[in-house]
Structures are given as structure tokens and as C-alpha cells.
């Protein structure tokens, strides 16, 4: 397991960072989040054509860049730092990993190239109104009809679910319970009986939708009733990916707080010379270093298919949930009144932090999971 990035990885990070700084500054984020679509198609095409990011971890044979999960997470750190407003997480993390984990080779060959090239936007719909993040909470049913399936039920909190063109749906065989009987199915965006309803989100930079399935025709991916493990793995990988994005967001907040503390004068001194501010920043840096170490170790574990990915994913996400929010709260606090204004940018990261805190499960959920994993392994 490696503990520091290679020079090649650092160069890759620098190129992503440069790209995002130039093409997706926070002013661009503000414009994009206020559009109907929710992101900037031109920027998305540049992201695909110039950096090939949407398929970075996808094998070249499947139309991707053939890099690993670690590189994906490096890109996500930078996207988190820049607060990128795009369907990357839905399409290139959730849907892509679900296909890599759960679809047959033929299906991957058919579906992934368009997603990896960024041509088609995909998403994964698994959570429902009950808000349960674990696959056991799925109630939507997939009933066999001829060679296909019929989906009945609803999904909620579907990232970019209002505009994604490919929707992967986690469903269960009627009568099944828990992790058994789950299947992964493909639904086209225009399928009859599918109602998509955008949700108003706290974080305007990450769209979500509620989906209603009224006898929607769907195509099975992988083996029927056997998607439980693939789905669980996908969610663990997604948790690591999200934690990486959150580490990047935390870095942006910490930098912003420290930079302001250096120049803001009160009582004839920069406020950063007061221990109250100094020590808060020092503790925040510590929290961030610890969490970054966790996210990076977990990313390497995913890349190596390590057996402790579930524990490491829980650890990284739990820490990131706490640390990102801490950074957001304290960055506002250090900025004082101006940090609470709309025109100041901190609230945009705050809203992402608040949402990321619960997305894929909050810290309590993952702490419980982590300990259960340790118990199972001990």
C-alpha cells in the first residue's frame, strides 16, 4: 500500500487543478448551478475531450483512459476543491463503477464507451424515500416480463437523475428481502412510465431527482437476483470516491480561511495572529491531514481490490463527513459576517459539505459499519 503519490500522479493532479482553475472558476460554478440543466455542457465536453476525465479509471478496451482508482480519486479531490458543478460523480463514479462491478463483459463493451467518453450521462438509482443507503432498503420491484423486466416503485435522491440519459436501477425480485434478490437494470431516460421530478436541493451544485416507475420496461444487467455484492462494492467505492472529493473541498475551505486570517485586520492585528483563530486553523489542518490519509489509503485499497475495502470506505467517509463540515463551519466563522453572505463563496462549499455529510450515509452510520467490519474480521 503506498502512502504518497508518485511524481506522475502529482503531475496528473497539477494538470487537473490547472484545468479547473482556468475553465471552472467559482464564477463559472455560480453560472452553471443557475442554469436549467444544472451544469455547463461546453465545460463538460472540454473535460472529456481535453482531459478524458469521465473514463479515467475505465480500461482502455472499454473506451476509458485505463488509469486506476487512485487517479480517479486524485481527480475527485481537485473537483471537490474547485466545487465542480457537473454530473461527474453520478456518471463516472456511481454508474461507471456499477457497470464495472455488475454488468457482463458484453454489456460493459456496449455501454461503457459512451459513458467513459462523456458522450452519455448515466446515473445509479438505488435509494428510495425511506432514505436507507444500504441495498437492504430497496423496495422497487423488477418483475420478469418476456425477455425483459417491468419496474414498479420509486427512487429518490438520484444524482443528476432529472437529466441523465442512462439510468441504472437497483431493484429486487418481488417477495425478496435484504441483500438477496437484488438486480441491476438499465432504463432509458425516455422509457414510458418513467416520471422524473427534479428535487430542490440544499446544494445547488449537485442535482438530485425523484423517479417514479410505473411498469417501466427495463433490461437486466449481469445475473438476475445476484447484484447484492456488486451493489455493495459499488457503494463502498463510491464512498471512497466521495471522501476524496470531500478532502479536496476541505482543502479549499482551509486555504480560504487561512488566507483570510492573514489579511483581515481587527484591533490593529491580522486576526490570524490571535490564538483563537490560529489554534482553530491548526486543529483543522490536523483533521484534514488525518482524513486525507484515510481517503488516500482507502483509494489505494480499492485499486488493489483489498479485502478490507468495506471497513476502509466506512472509515474514510465517516471522517470526511465530520471534517468537511467542520471546515465549512469554521471557514464561515473565521470570515465573520461576510462569510454568511451570498456573494461570498464559502456558503457554496458549506452546502456541498452539508449534503456530502449525509450522502451515502452519515458519520454515525459509517462508524457503526466500521466497528461491525472489525468485529467480523477479528
Amino acid at each position: 500500500m503506498h502512502f504518497a503519490f508518485t511524481d506522475e500522479q502529482e503531475q496528473f493532479r497539477a494538470s487537473v487543478q490547472r484545468f479547473l482553475r482556468e475553465r471552472a472558476p467559482i464564477t463559472a460554478v455560480r453560472s452553471a448551478m443557475e442554469t436549467t440543466l444544472g451544469y455547463d455542457r461546453t465545460l463538460w465536453r472540454q473535460l472529456c475531450d481535453e482531459l478524458g476525465l469521465p473514463g479515467i479509471q475505465v480500461p482502455e478496451a472499454l473506451g476509458g483512459q485505463g488509469f486506476g482508482f487512485v487517479e480517479l480519486c486524485i481527480a475527485l479531490e481537485e473537483m471537490g476543491r474547485a466545487l465542480l458543478c457537473a454530473p461527474f460523480f453520478a456518471s463516472s463514479v456511481l454508474a461507471t463503477q456499477a457497470l464495472l462491478n455488475g454488468a457482463s463483459e458484453t454489456q460493459q463493451l456496449e455501454l461503457l464507451p459512451a459513458i467513459a467518453s462523456g458522450q452519455r450521462i448515466a446515473t445509479l438509482a438505488w435509494v428510495e424515500s425511506n432514505g436507507r443507503w444500504d441495498p437492504g432498503g430497496i423496495a422497487l420491484t423488477a418483475t420478469p416480463v418476456g425477455t425483459g423486466y417491468r419496474l414498479d416503485g420509486e427512487k429518490k435522491f438520484v444524482l443528476d437523475g432529472d437529466h441523465a440519459e442512462v439510468i441504472l436501477v437497483a431493484a429486487r425480485a418481488p417477495g425478496s428481502v435484504g441483500a438477496a434478490g437484488l438486480s441491476l437494470l438499465l432504463v432509458e431516460a425516455e422509457a414510458p412510465g418513467l416520471e422524473r421530478h427534479p428535487l430542490q436541493t440544499l446544494d445547488p451544485t449537485r442535482r438530485q431527482a425523484a423517479l417514479r416507475f410505473n411498469g417501466v420496461s427495463a433490461r437486466l444487467l449481469g445475473a438476475a437476483g445476484n447484484a447484492g455484492a456488486a451493489l455493495a462494492l459499488t457503494l463502498d467505492q463510491a464512498a471512497v470516491a466521495l471522501a476524496s472529493e470531500m478532502v479536496g473541498g476541505t482543502a479549499a475551505l482551509l486555504e480560504s480561511a487561512v488566507a483570510y486570517a492573514k489579511i483581515r485586520m481587527q484591533f490593529g492585528r491580522p486576526i490570524g495572529s490571535f490564538q483563537a483563530i490560529k489554534h482553530q486553523c491548526a486543529e483543522l489542518l490536523l483533521a484534514q491531514e488525518l482524513t486525507a490519509a484515510a481517503a488516500r489509503y482507502a483509494a489505494a485499497a480499492v485499486a488493489e481490490n483489498a479485502p478490507d475495502v468495506p471497513a476502509l470506505a466506512a472509515l474514510a467517509k465517516a471522517r470526511a463527513s465530520d471534517t468537511y463540515l467542520q471546515a465549512a463551519v469554521e471557514c464561515i466563522q473565521i470570515h465573520g459576517g461576510v462569510g454568511f453572505t451570498w456573494d461570498h463563496d464559502t456558503h457554496l462549499w458549506f452546502k456541498r459539505a452539508k449534503t456530502s455529510q449525509v450522502l451515502l450515509g452519515d458519520a454515525n452510520y459509517h462508524r457503526e459499519r466500521y466497528l461491525a467490519q472489525l468485529e467480523a474480521g477479528a
Binding site: Q200, G268, D362
Partner: protein, 419 residues
């Protein structure tokens, strides 16, 4: 018994109300009557719309008003701070000119103290007022000014001498807000509300007679205003209780309250709405989750303790003991409560915490809480400032070395902000 006897006074006011009260009268006209009679602010001096009565008699008088639903003088907003400040520091001509129209509600006021460059360090204000031999000319920028867009008058703290130490170079003015040299812009907050304004002054004018106190008295007088602001913070919770009775005067009062209370609509959410946590936890079934139970219990305990601490402080004050440290302690406790409540609301809402708007939990109220709570530890003095106050004034710990003691001209400070 003297004329200050409670029963006598209550009889007097009851008789007066029986003769004069009429809910179909216009609000302003009624309040002019109140001002003339002295029954609107009976504890004020009799030459300034009052009756020289002791404060202790106010509850009885108020009870008589309440009994028949009689409307009182304009009691909401910054105008009260203006009145308190003018009563203490204004000259007779100021009182004659401003007080009555404050009571009638004809004038609204705003407070022009905070600046982009001076938040915690209010005395570091750099908005300047220069006397040209005839009038004061004001240049600079103020911030966080509630009601500036509809106020007739502003209470302005401005620097009049740059060679004195910072607290000594400030003066206090009443400024006419209705001049083109003053521009008011709303300031939108991260929770979507725009409760405050930025105010820009470009050679705005103040006649010489609008200086309150002497040149250089600004800081001392501003402290009077702020003391009343703190005292009134509690009262804010009771504001806005407009009567829903029929009658012209009630309709007018409701409109007045709606205007003045508008900026404060999100304040309950800012405090974290602890009151909603227990019921929400039960309704969502999340109360069964052990980790949430601990957090919720801790929060409810803290809320209960904060309430007792406040009661205890009030009770001690009622017994005539010194006021004590409860101001900053209470404010700091409120900060802890708000943050902990936001966390508990998040835990309770789970995935729903990601939503806002009408489809979100409680029609978006939870989202509003999450986006408003960060203001609690900043507005009205940051947590850091409260901890300094507690440490220095309650625990008597030594102050930090001062870096801003010399002439203000030489004190390092923020550059002016680009407009």
C-alpha cells in the same frame, strides 16, 4: 397614598382609556394622543411625552391597555434604541424633534455602526465625517444595516479625528437617510434572505445640529445604544405579536409590524429550533437510533440548562443582585445550542437533509435551519469575542497586549473594500 400608587394609577389610565380608546381611529392619530397624554411611555420625563412614573408601575399600566386591547406606541425596531440614546445623550432640540415621531411610528430608524473593515472591532470604524465649517460631510461604507431602505433617520458612528486613539476619534450623529448621497443596497445571505443592507456615503451631509453629544463622544454614546440593543434582544422574541382583532387601528399596526419584523423572519431558525427536535425524532422514528439518542439527549439537556441559567440570572437580578456574566454566557450557550441543534436535525432528517424548498422536511424549514445557524456564532458579537468578554470581565483574566493604542492614523487596518 401618593399618585404613584399602583391602584390609583391603574384607575387613572383605565379612565383615560375608556374616554379615548377607539379601535377605528388611525394608528398615528391615536399615538399622538398617547404622546400628549403621557400614557404611551409613562416612565419617560413628563416634558417628553411621559409622566415621570417609576418603571415598576409599567406592568400594571400595560395590563390596562391589554385588558381592552388598546394599542401602544411604536415599540419595535431600531427606533427604540434611537429613543433611548436620545433621551440619555440628546439635547432638548433633538428630543423635541425626534422623540414624538418615534413614538407615533411616523419615522423609522436604522443603526449605522458596523463596517466592512470593522466587525468585531467596532471602534475601528473608518467612515469619516469632516466638518466644512457649516455642515458635516460623510464618506465611507456601513454594513449589516437593518431597515436602511425604509428608514428616515440613521444613528451614525463616524470618525472625526484620525490623530486620537481609536475610541476617542469617533462622533455620533443623526443622519437624514433621504438624500441622494446615500445609497442603500440589500445584502443577500447564504440562506437566501436579504435582511440587511450595505450603505454607501459619498459626501452625504449632516447639519451641524445633528451631532449628538460632543465631538469625540461617539464611542461612549454608541455603547448606550448597544446596551439597549442587548437588553432588547430578549424582547425581540415577544415582538410581532400583532393583534388579530378587527378594526382600522389593528390593521395599521399589523402592517407596521410586518414591515419592521420582515428582516427577522428567519431568526428562530438561526437559533436552531431545538423545540422541533424531539417531536421530529419521534415522528420520523429516528428516535430509536442509539447514536441519535445520545446526541438528542445531550442537546435537550443543554437547552434545558441554558434556560435555567437565564432564569437564574433574571431571578438574581430581581433580587437586586448584580447582573453578572449571563449576557455573554447566554450568547455563547445559544451558539453551542444552535450548532448542536443543526447537527441533530441533520441526523434526524438523514437523506432528507439534502433537500430544500416545499418538498423538503417541514416544507423547507429544516433546510432553513441548516443554512441559518452559522449566523448565530457571528451576529451580535462572535463567539470569540464572547469568550474574550467572559474571560476578561467575568474571570478577570489579563487582557492581551494592545496593538491599536496609538493614534488611529497609525493603526494597521483593512484597506477600503472595492464597491
Amino acid at each position: 397614598m401618593s399618585q404613584f400608587d399602583d391602584t390609583t394609577i391603574r384607575t387613572a389610565v383605565r379612565d383615560w382609556l375608556a374616554t379615548h380608546w377607539d379601535p377605528e381611529r388611525g394608528l398615528v392619530a391615536w399615538r399622538h394622543l398617547l404622546a400628549e397624554s403621557g400614557w404611551g411611555v409613562p416612565h419617560w420625563p413628563s416634558e417628553w411625552c411621559g409622566r415621570d412614573l417609576p418603571v415598576a408601575l409599567l406592568p400594571g399600566i400595560e395590563a390596562e391597555f391589554d385588558a381592552i386591547g388598546a394599542v401602544g406606541v411604536a415599540r419595535v425596531g431600531i427606533r427604540l434604541l434611537a429613543a433611548a440614546t436620545l433621551l440619555e445623550h440628546g439635547r432638548d432640540e433633538h428630543k423635541a424633534r425626534f422623540l414624538r415621531r418615534i413614538l407615533t411610528g411616523e419615522d423609522t430608524w436604522c443603526q449605522l455602526f458596523s463596517e466592512p473593515g470593522s466587525g468585531s472591532d467596532l471602534a475601528g470604524a473608518t467612515t469619516r465625517a469632516d466638518f466644512d465649517g457649516e455642515r458635516w460631510r460623510v464618506n465611507g461604507q456601513k454594513l449589516w444595516t437593518t431597515s436602511a431602505h425604509h428608514a428616515q433617520w440613521g444613528l451614525l458612528l463616524a470618525r472625526t479625528d484620525w490623530d486620537l486613539p481609536k475610541h476617542q476619534g469617533l462622533s455620533y450623529f443623526v443622519i437624514d437617510m433621504r438624500q441622494s448621497a446615500i445609497q442603500v443596497q440589500p445584502l443577500k445571505q447564504m440562506n437566501g434572505y436579504a435582511s440587511f443592507n450595505q450603505v454607501f456615503f459619498t459626501d452625504a451631509e449632516i447639519p451641524a445640529e445633528n451631532l449628538i453629544g460632543a465631538v469625540g463622544d461617539g464611542w461612549k454614546i454608541a455603547m448606550t445604544t448597544l446596551a439597549h440593543e442587548r437588553r432588547n434582544a430578549d424582547a425581540l422574541k415577544r415582538w410581532g405579536r400583532a393583534s388579530d382583532r378587527p378594526g382600522r387601528i389593528y390593521a395599521e399596526e399589523r402592517a407596521e409590524i410586518a414591515t419592521v419584523m420582515e428582516p427577522y423572519r428567519w431568526y428562530p431558525q438561526r437559533a436552531g429550533r431545538v423545540d422541533l427536535t424531539f417531536s421530529r425524532a419521534r415522528e420520523t422514528g429516528r428516535i430509536a437510533e442509539p447514536a441519535l439518542r445520545q446526541e438528542l439527549s445531550r442537546l435537550l439537556m443543554l437547552a434545558q440548562c441554558a434556560e435555567w441559567m437565564a432564569h437564574r440570572a433574571r431571578h438574581a437580578k430581581a433580587l437586586g443582585r448584580p447582573e453578572g456574566p449571563e449576557g455573554s454566557l447566554g450568547k455563547l450557550a445559544a451558539s453551542h445550542l444552535a450548532r448542536a441543534a443543526a447537527q441533530v436535525h441533520t441526523l434526524i432528517s438523514g437523506a432528507d437533509a439534502m433537500l430544500a424548498g416545499p418538498e423538503a422536511p417541514l416544507g423547507g424549514l429544516i433546510a432553513e435551519i441548516l443554512l441559518s445557524v452559522p449566523a448565530t456564532s457571528i451576529a451580535g458579537g462572535t463567539d470569540e469575542i464572547q469568550r474574550n468578554i467572559i474571560a476578561e470581565r467575568v474571570l478577570d483574566l489579563p487582557r492581551e497586549p494592545r496593538m491599536d493604542a496609538g493614534p488611529f492614523r497609525d493603526v494597521p487596518r483593512n484597506p477600503p473594500r472595492a464597491r
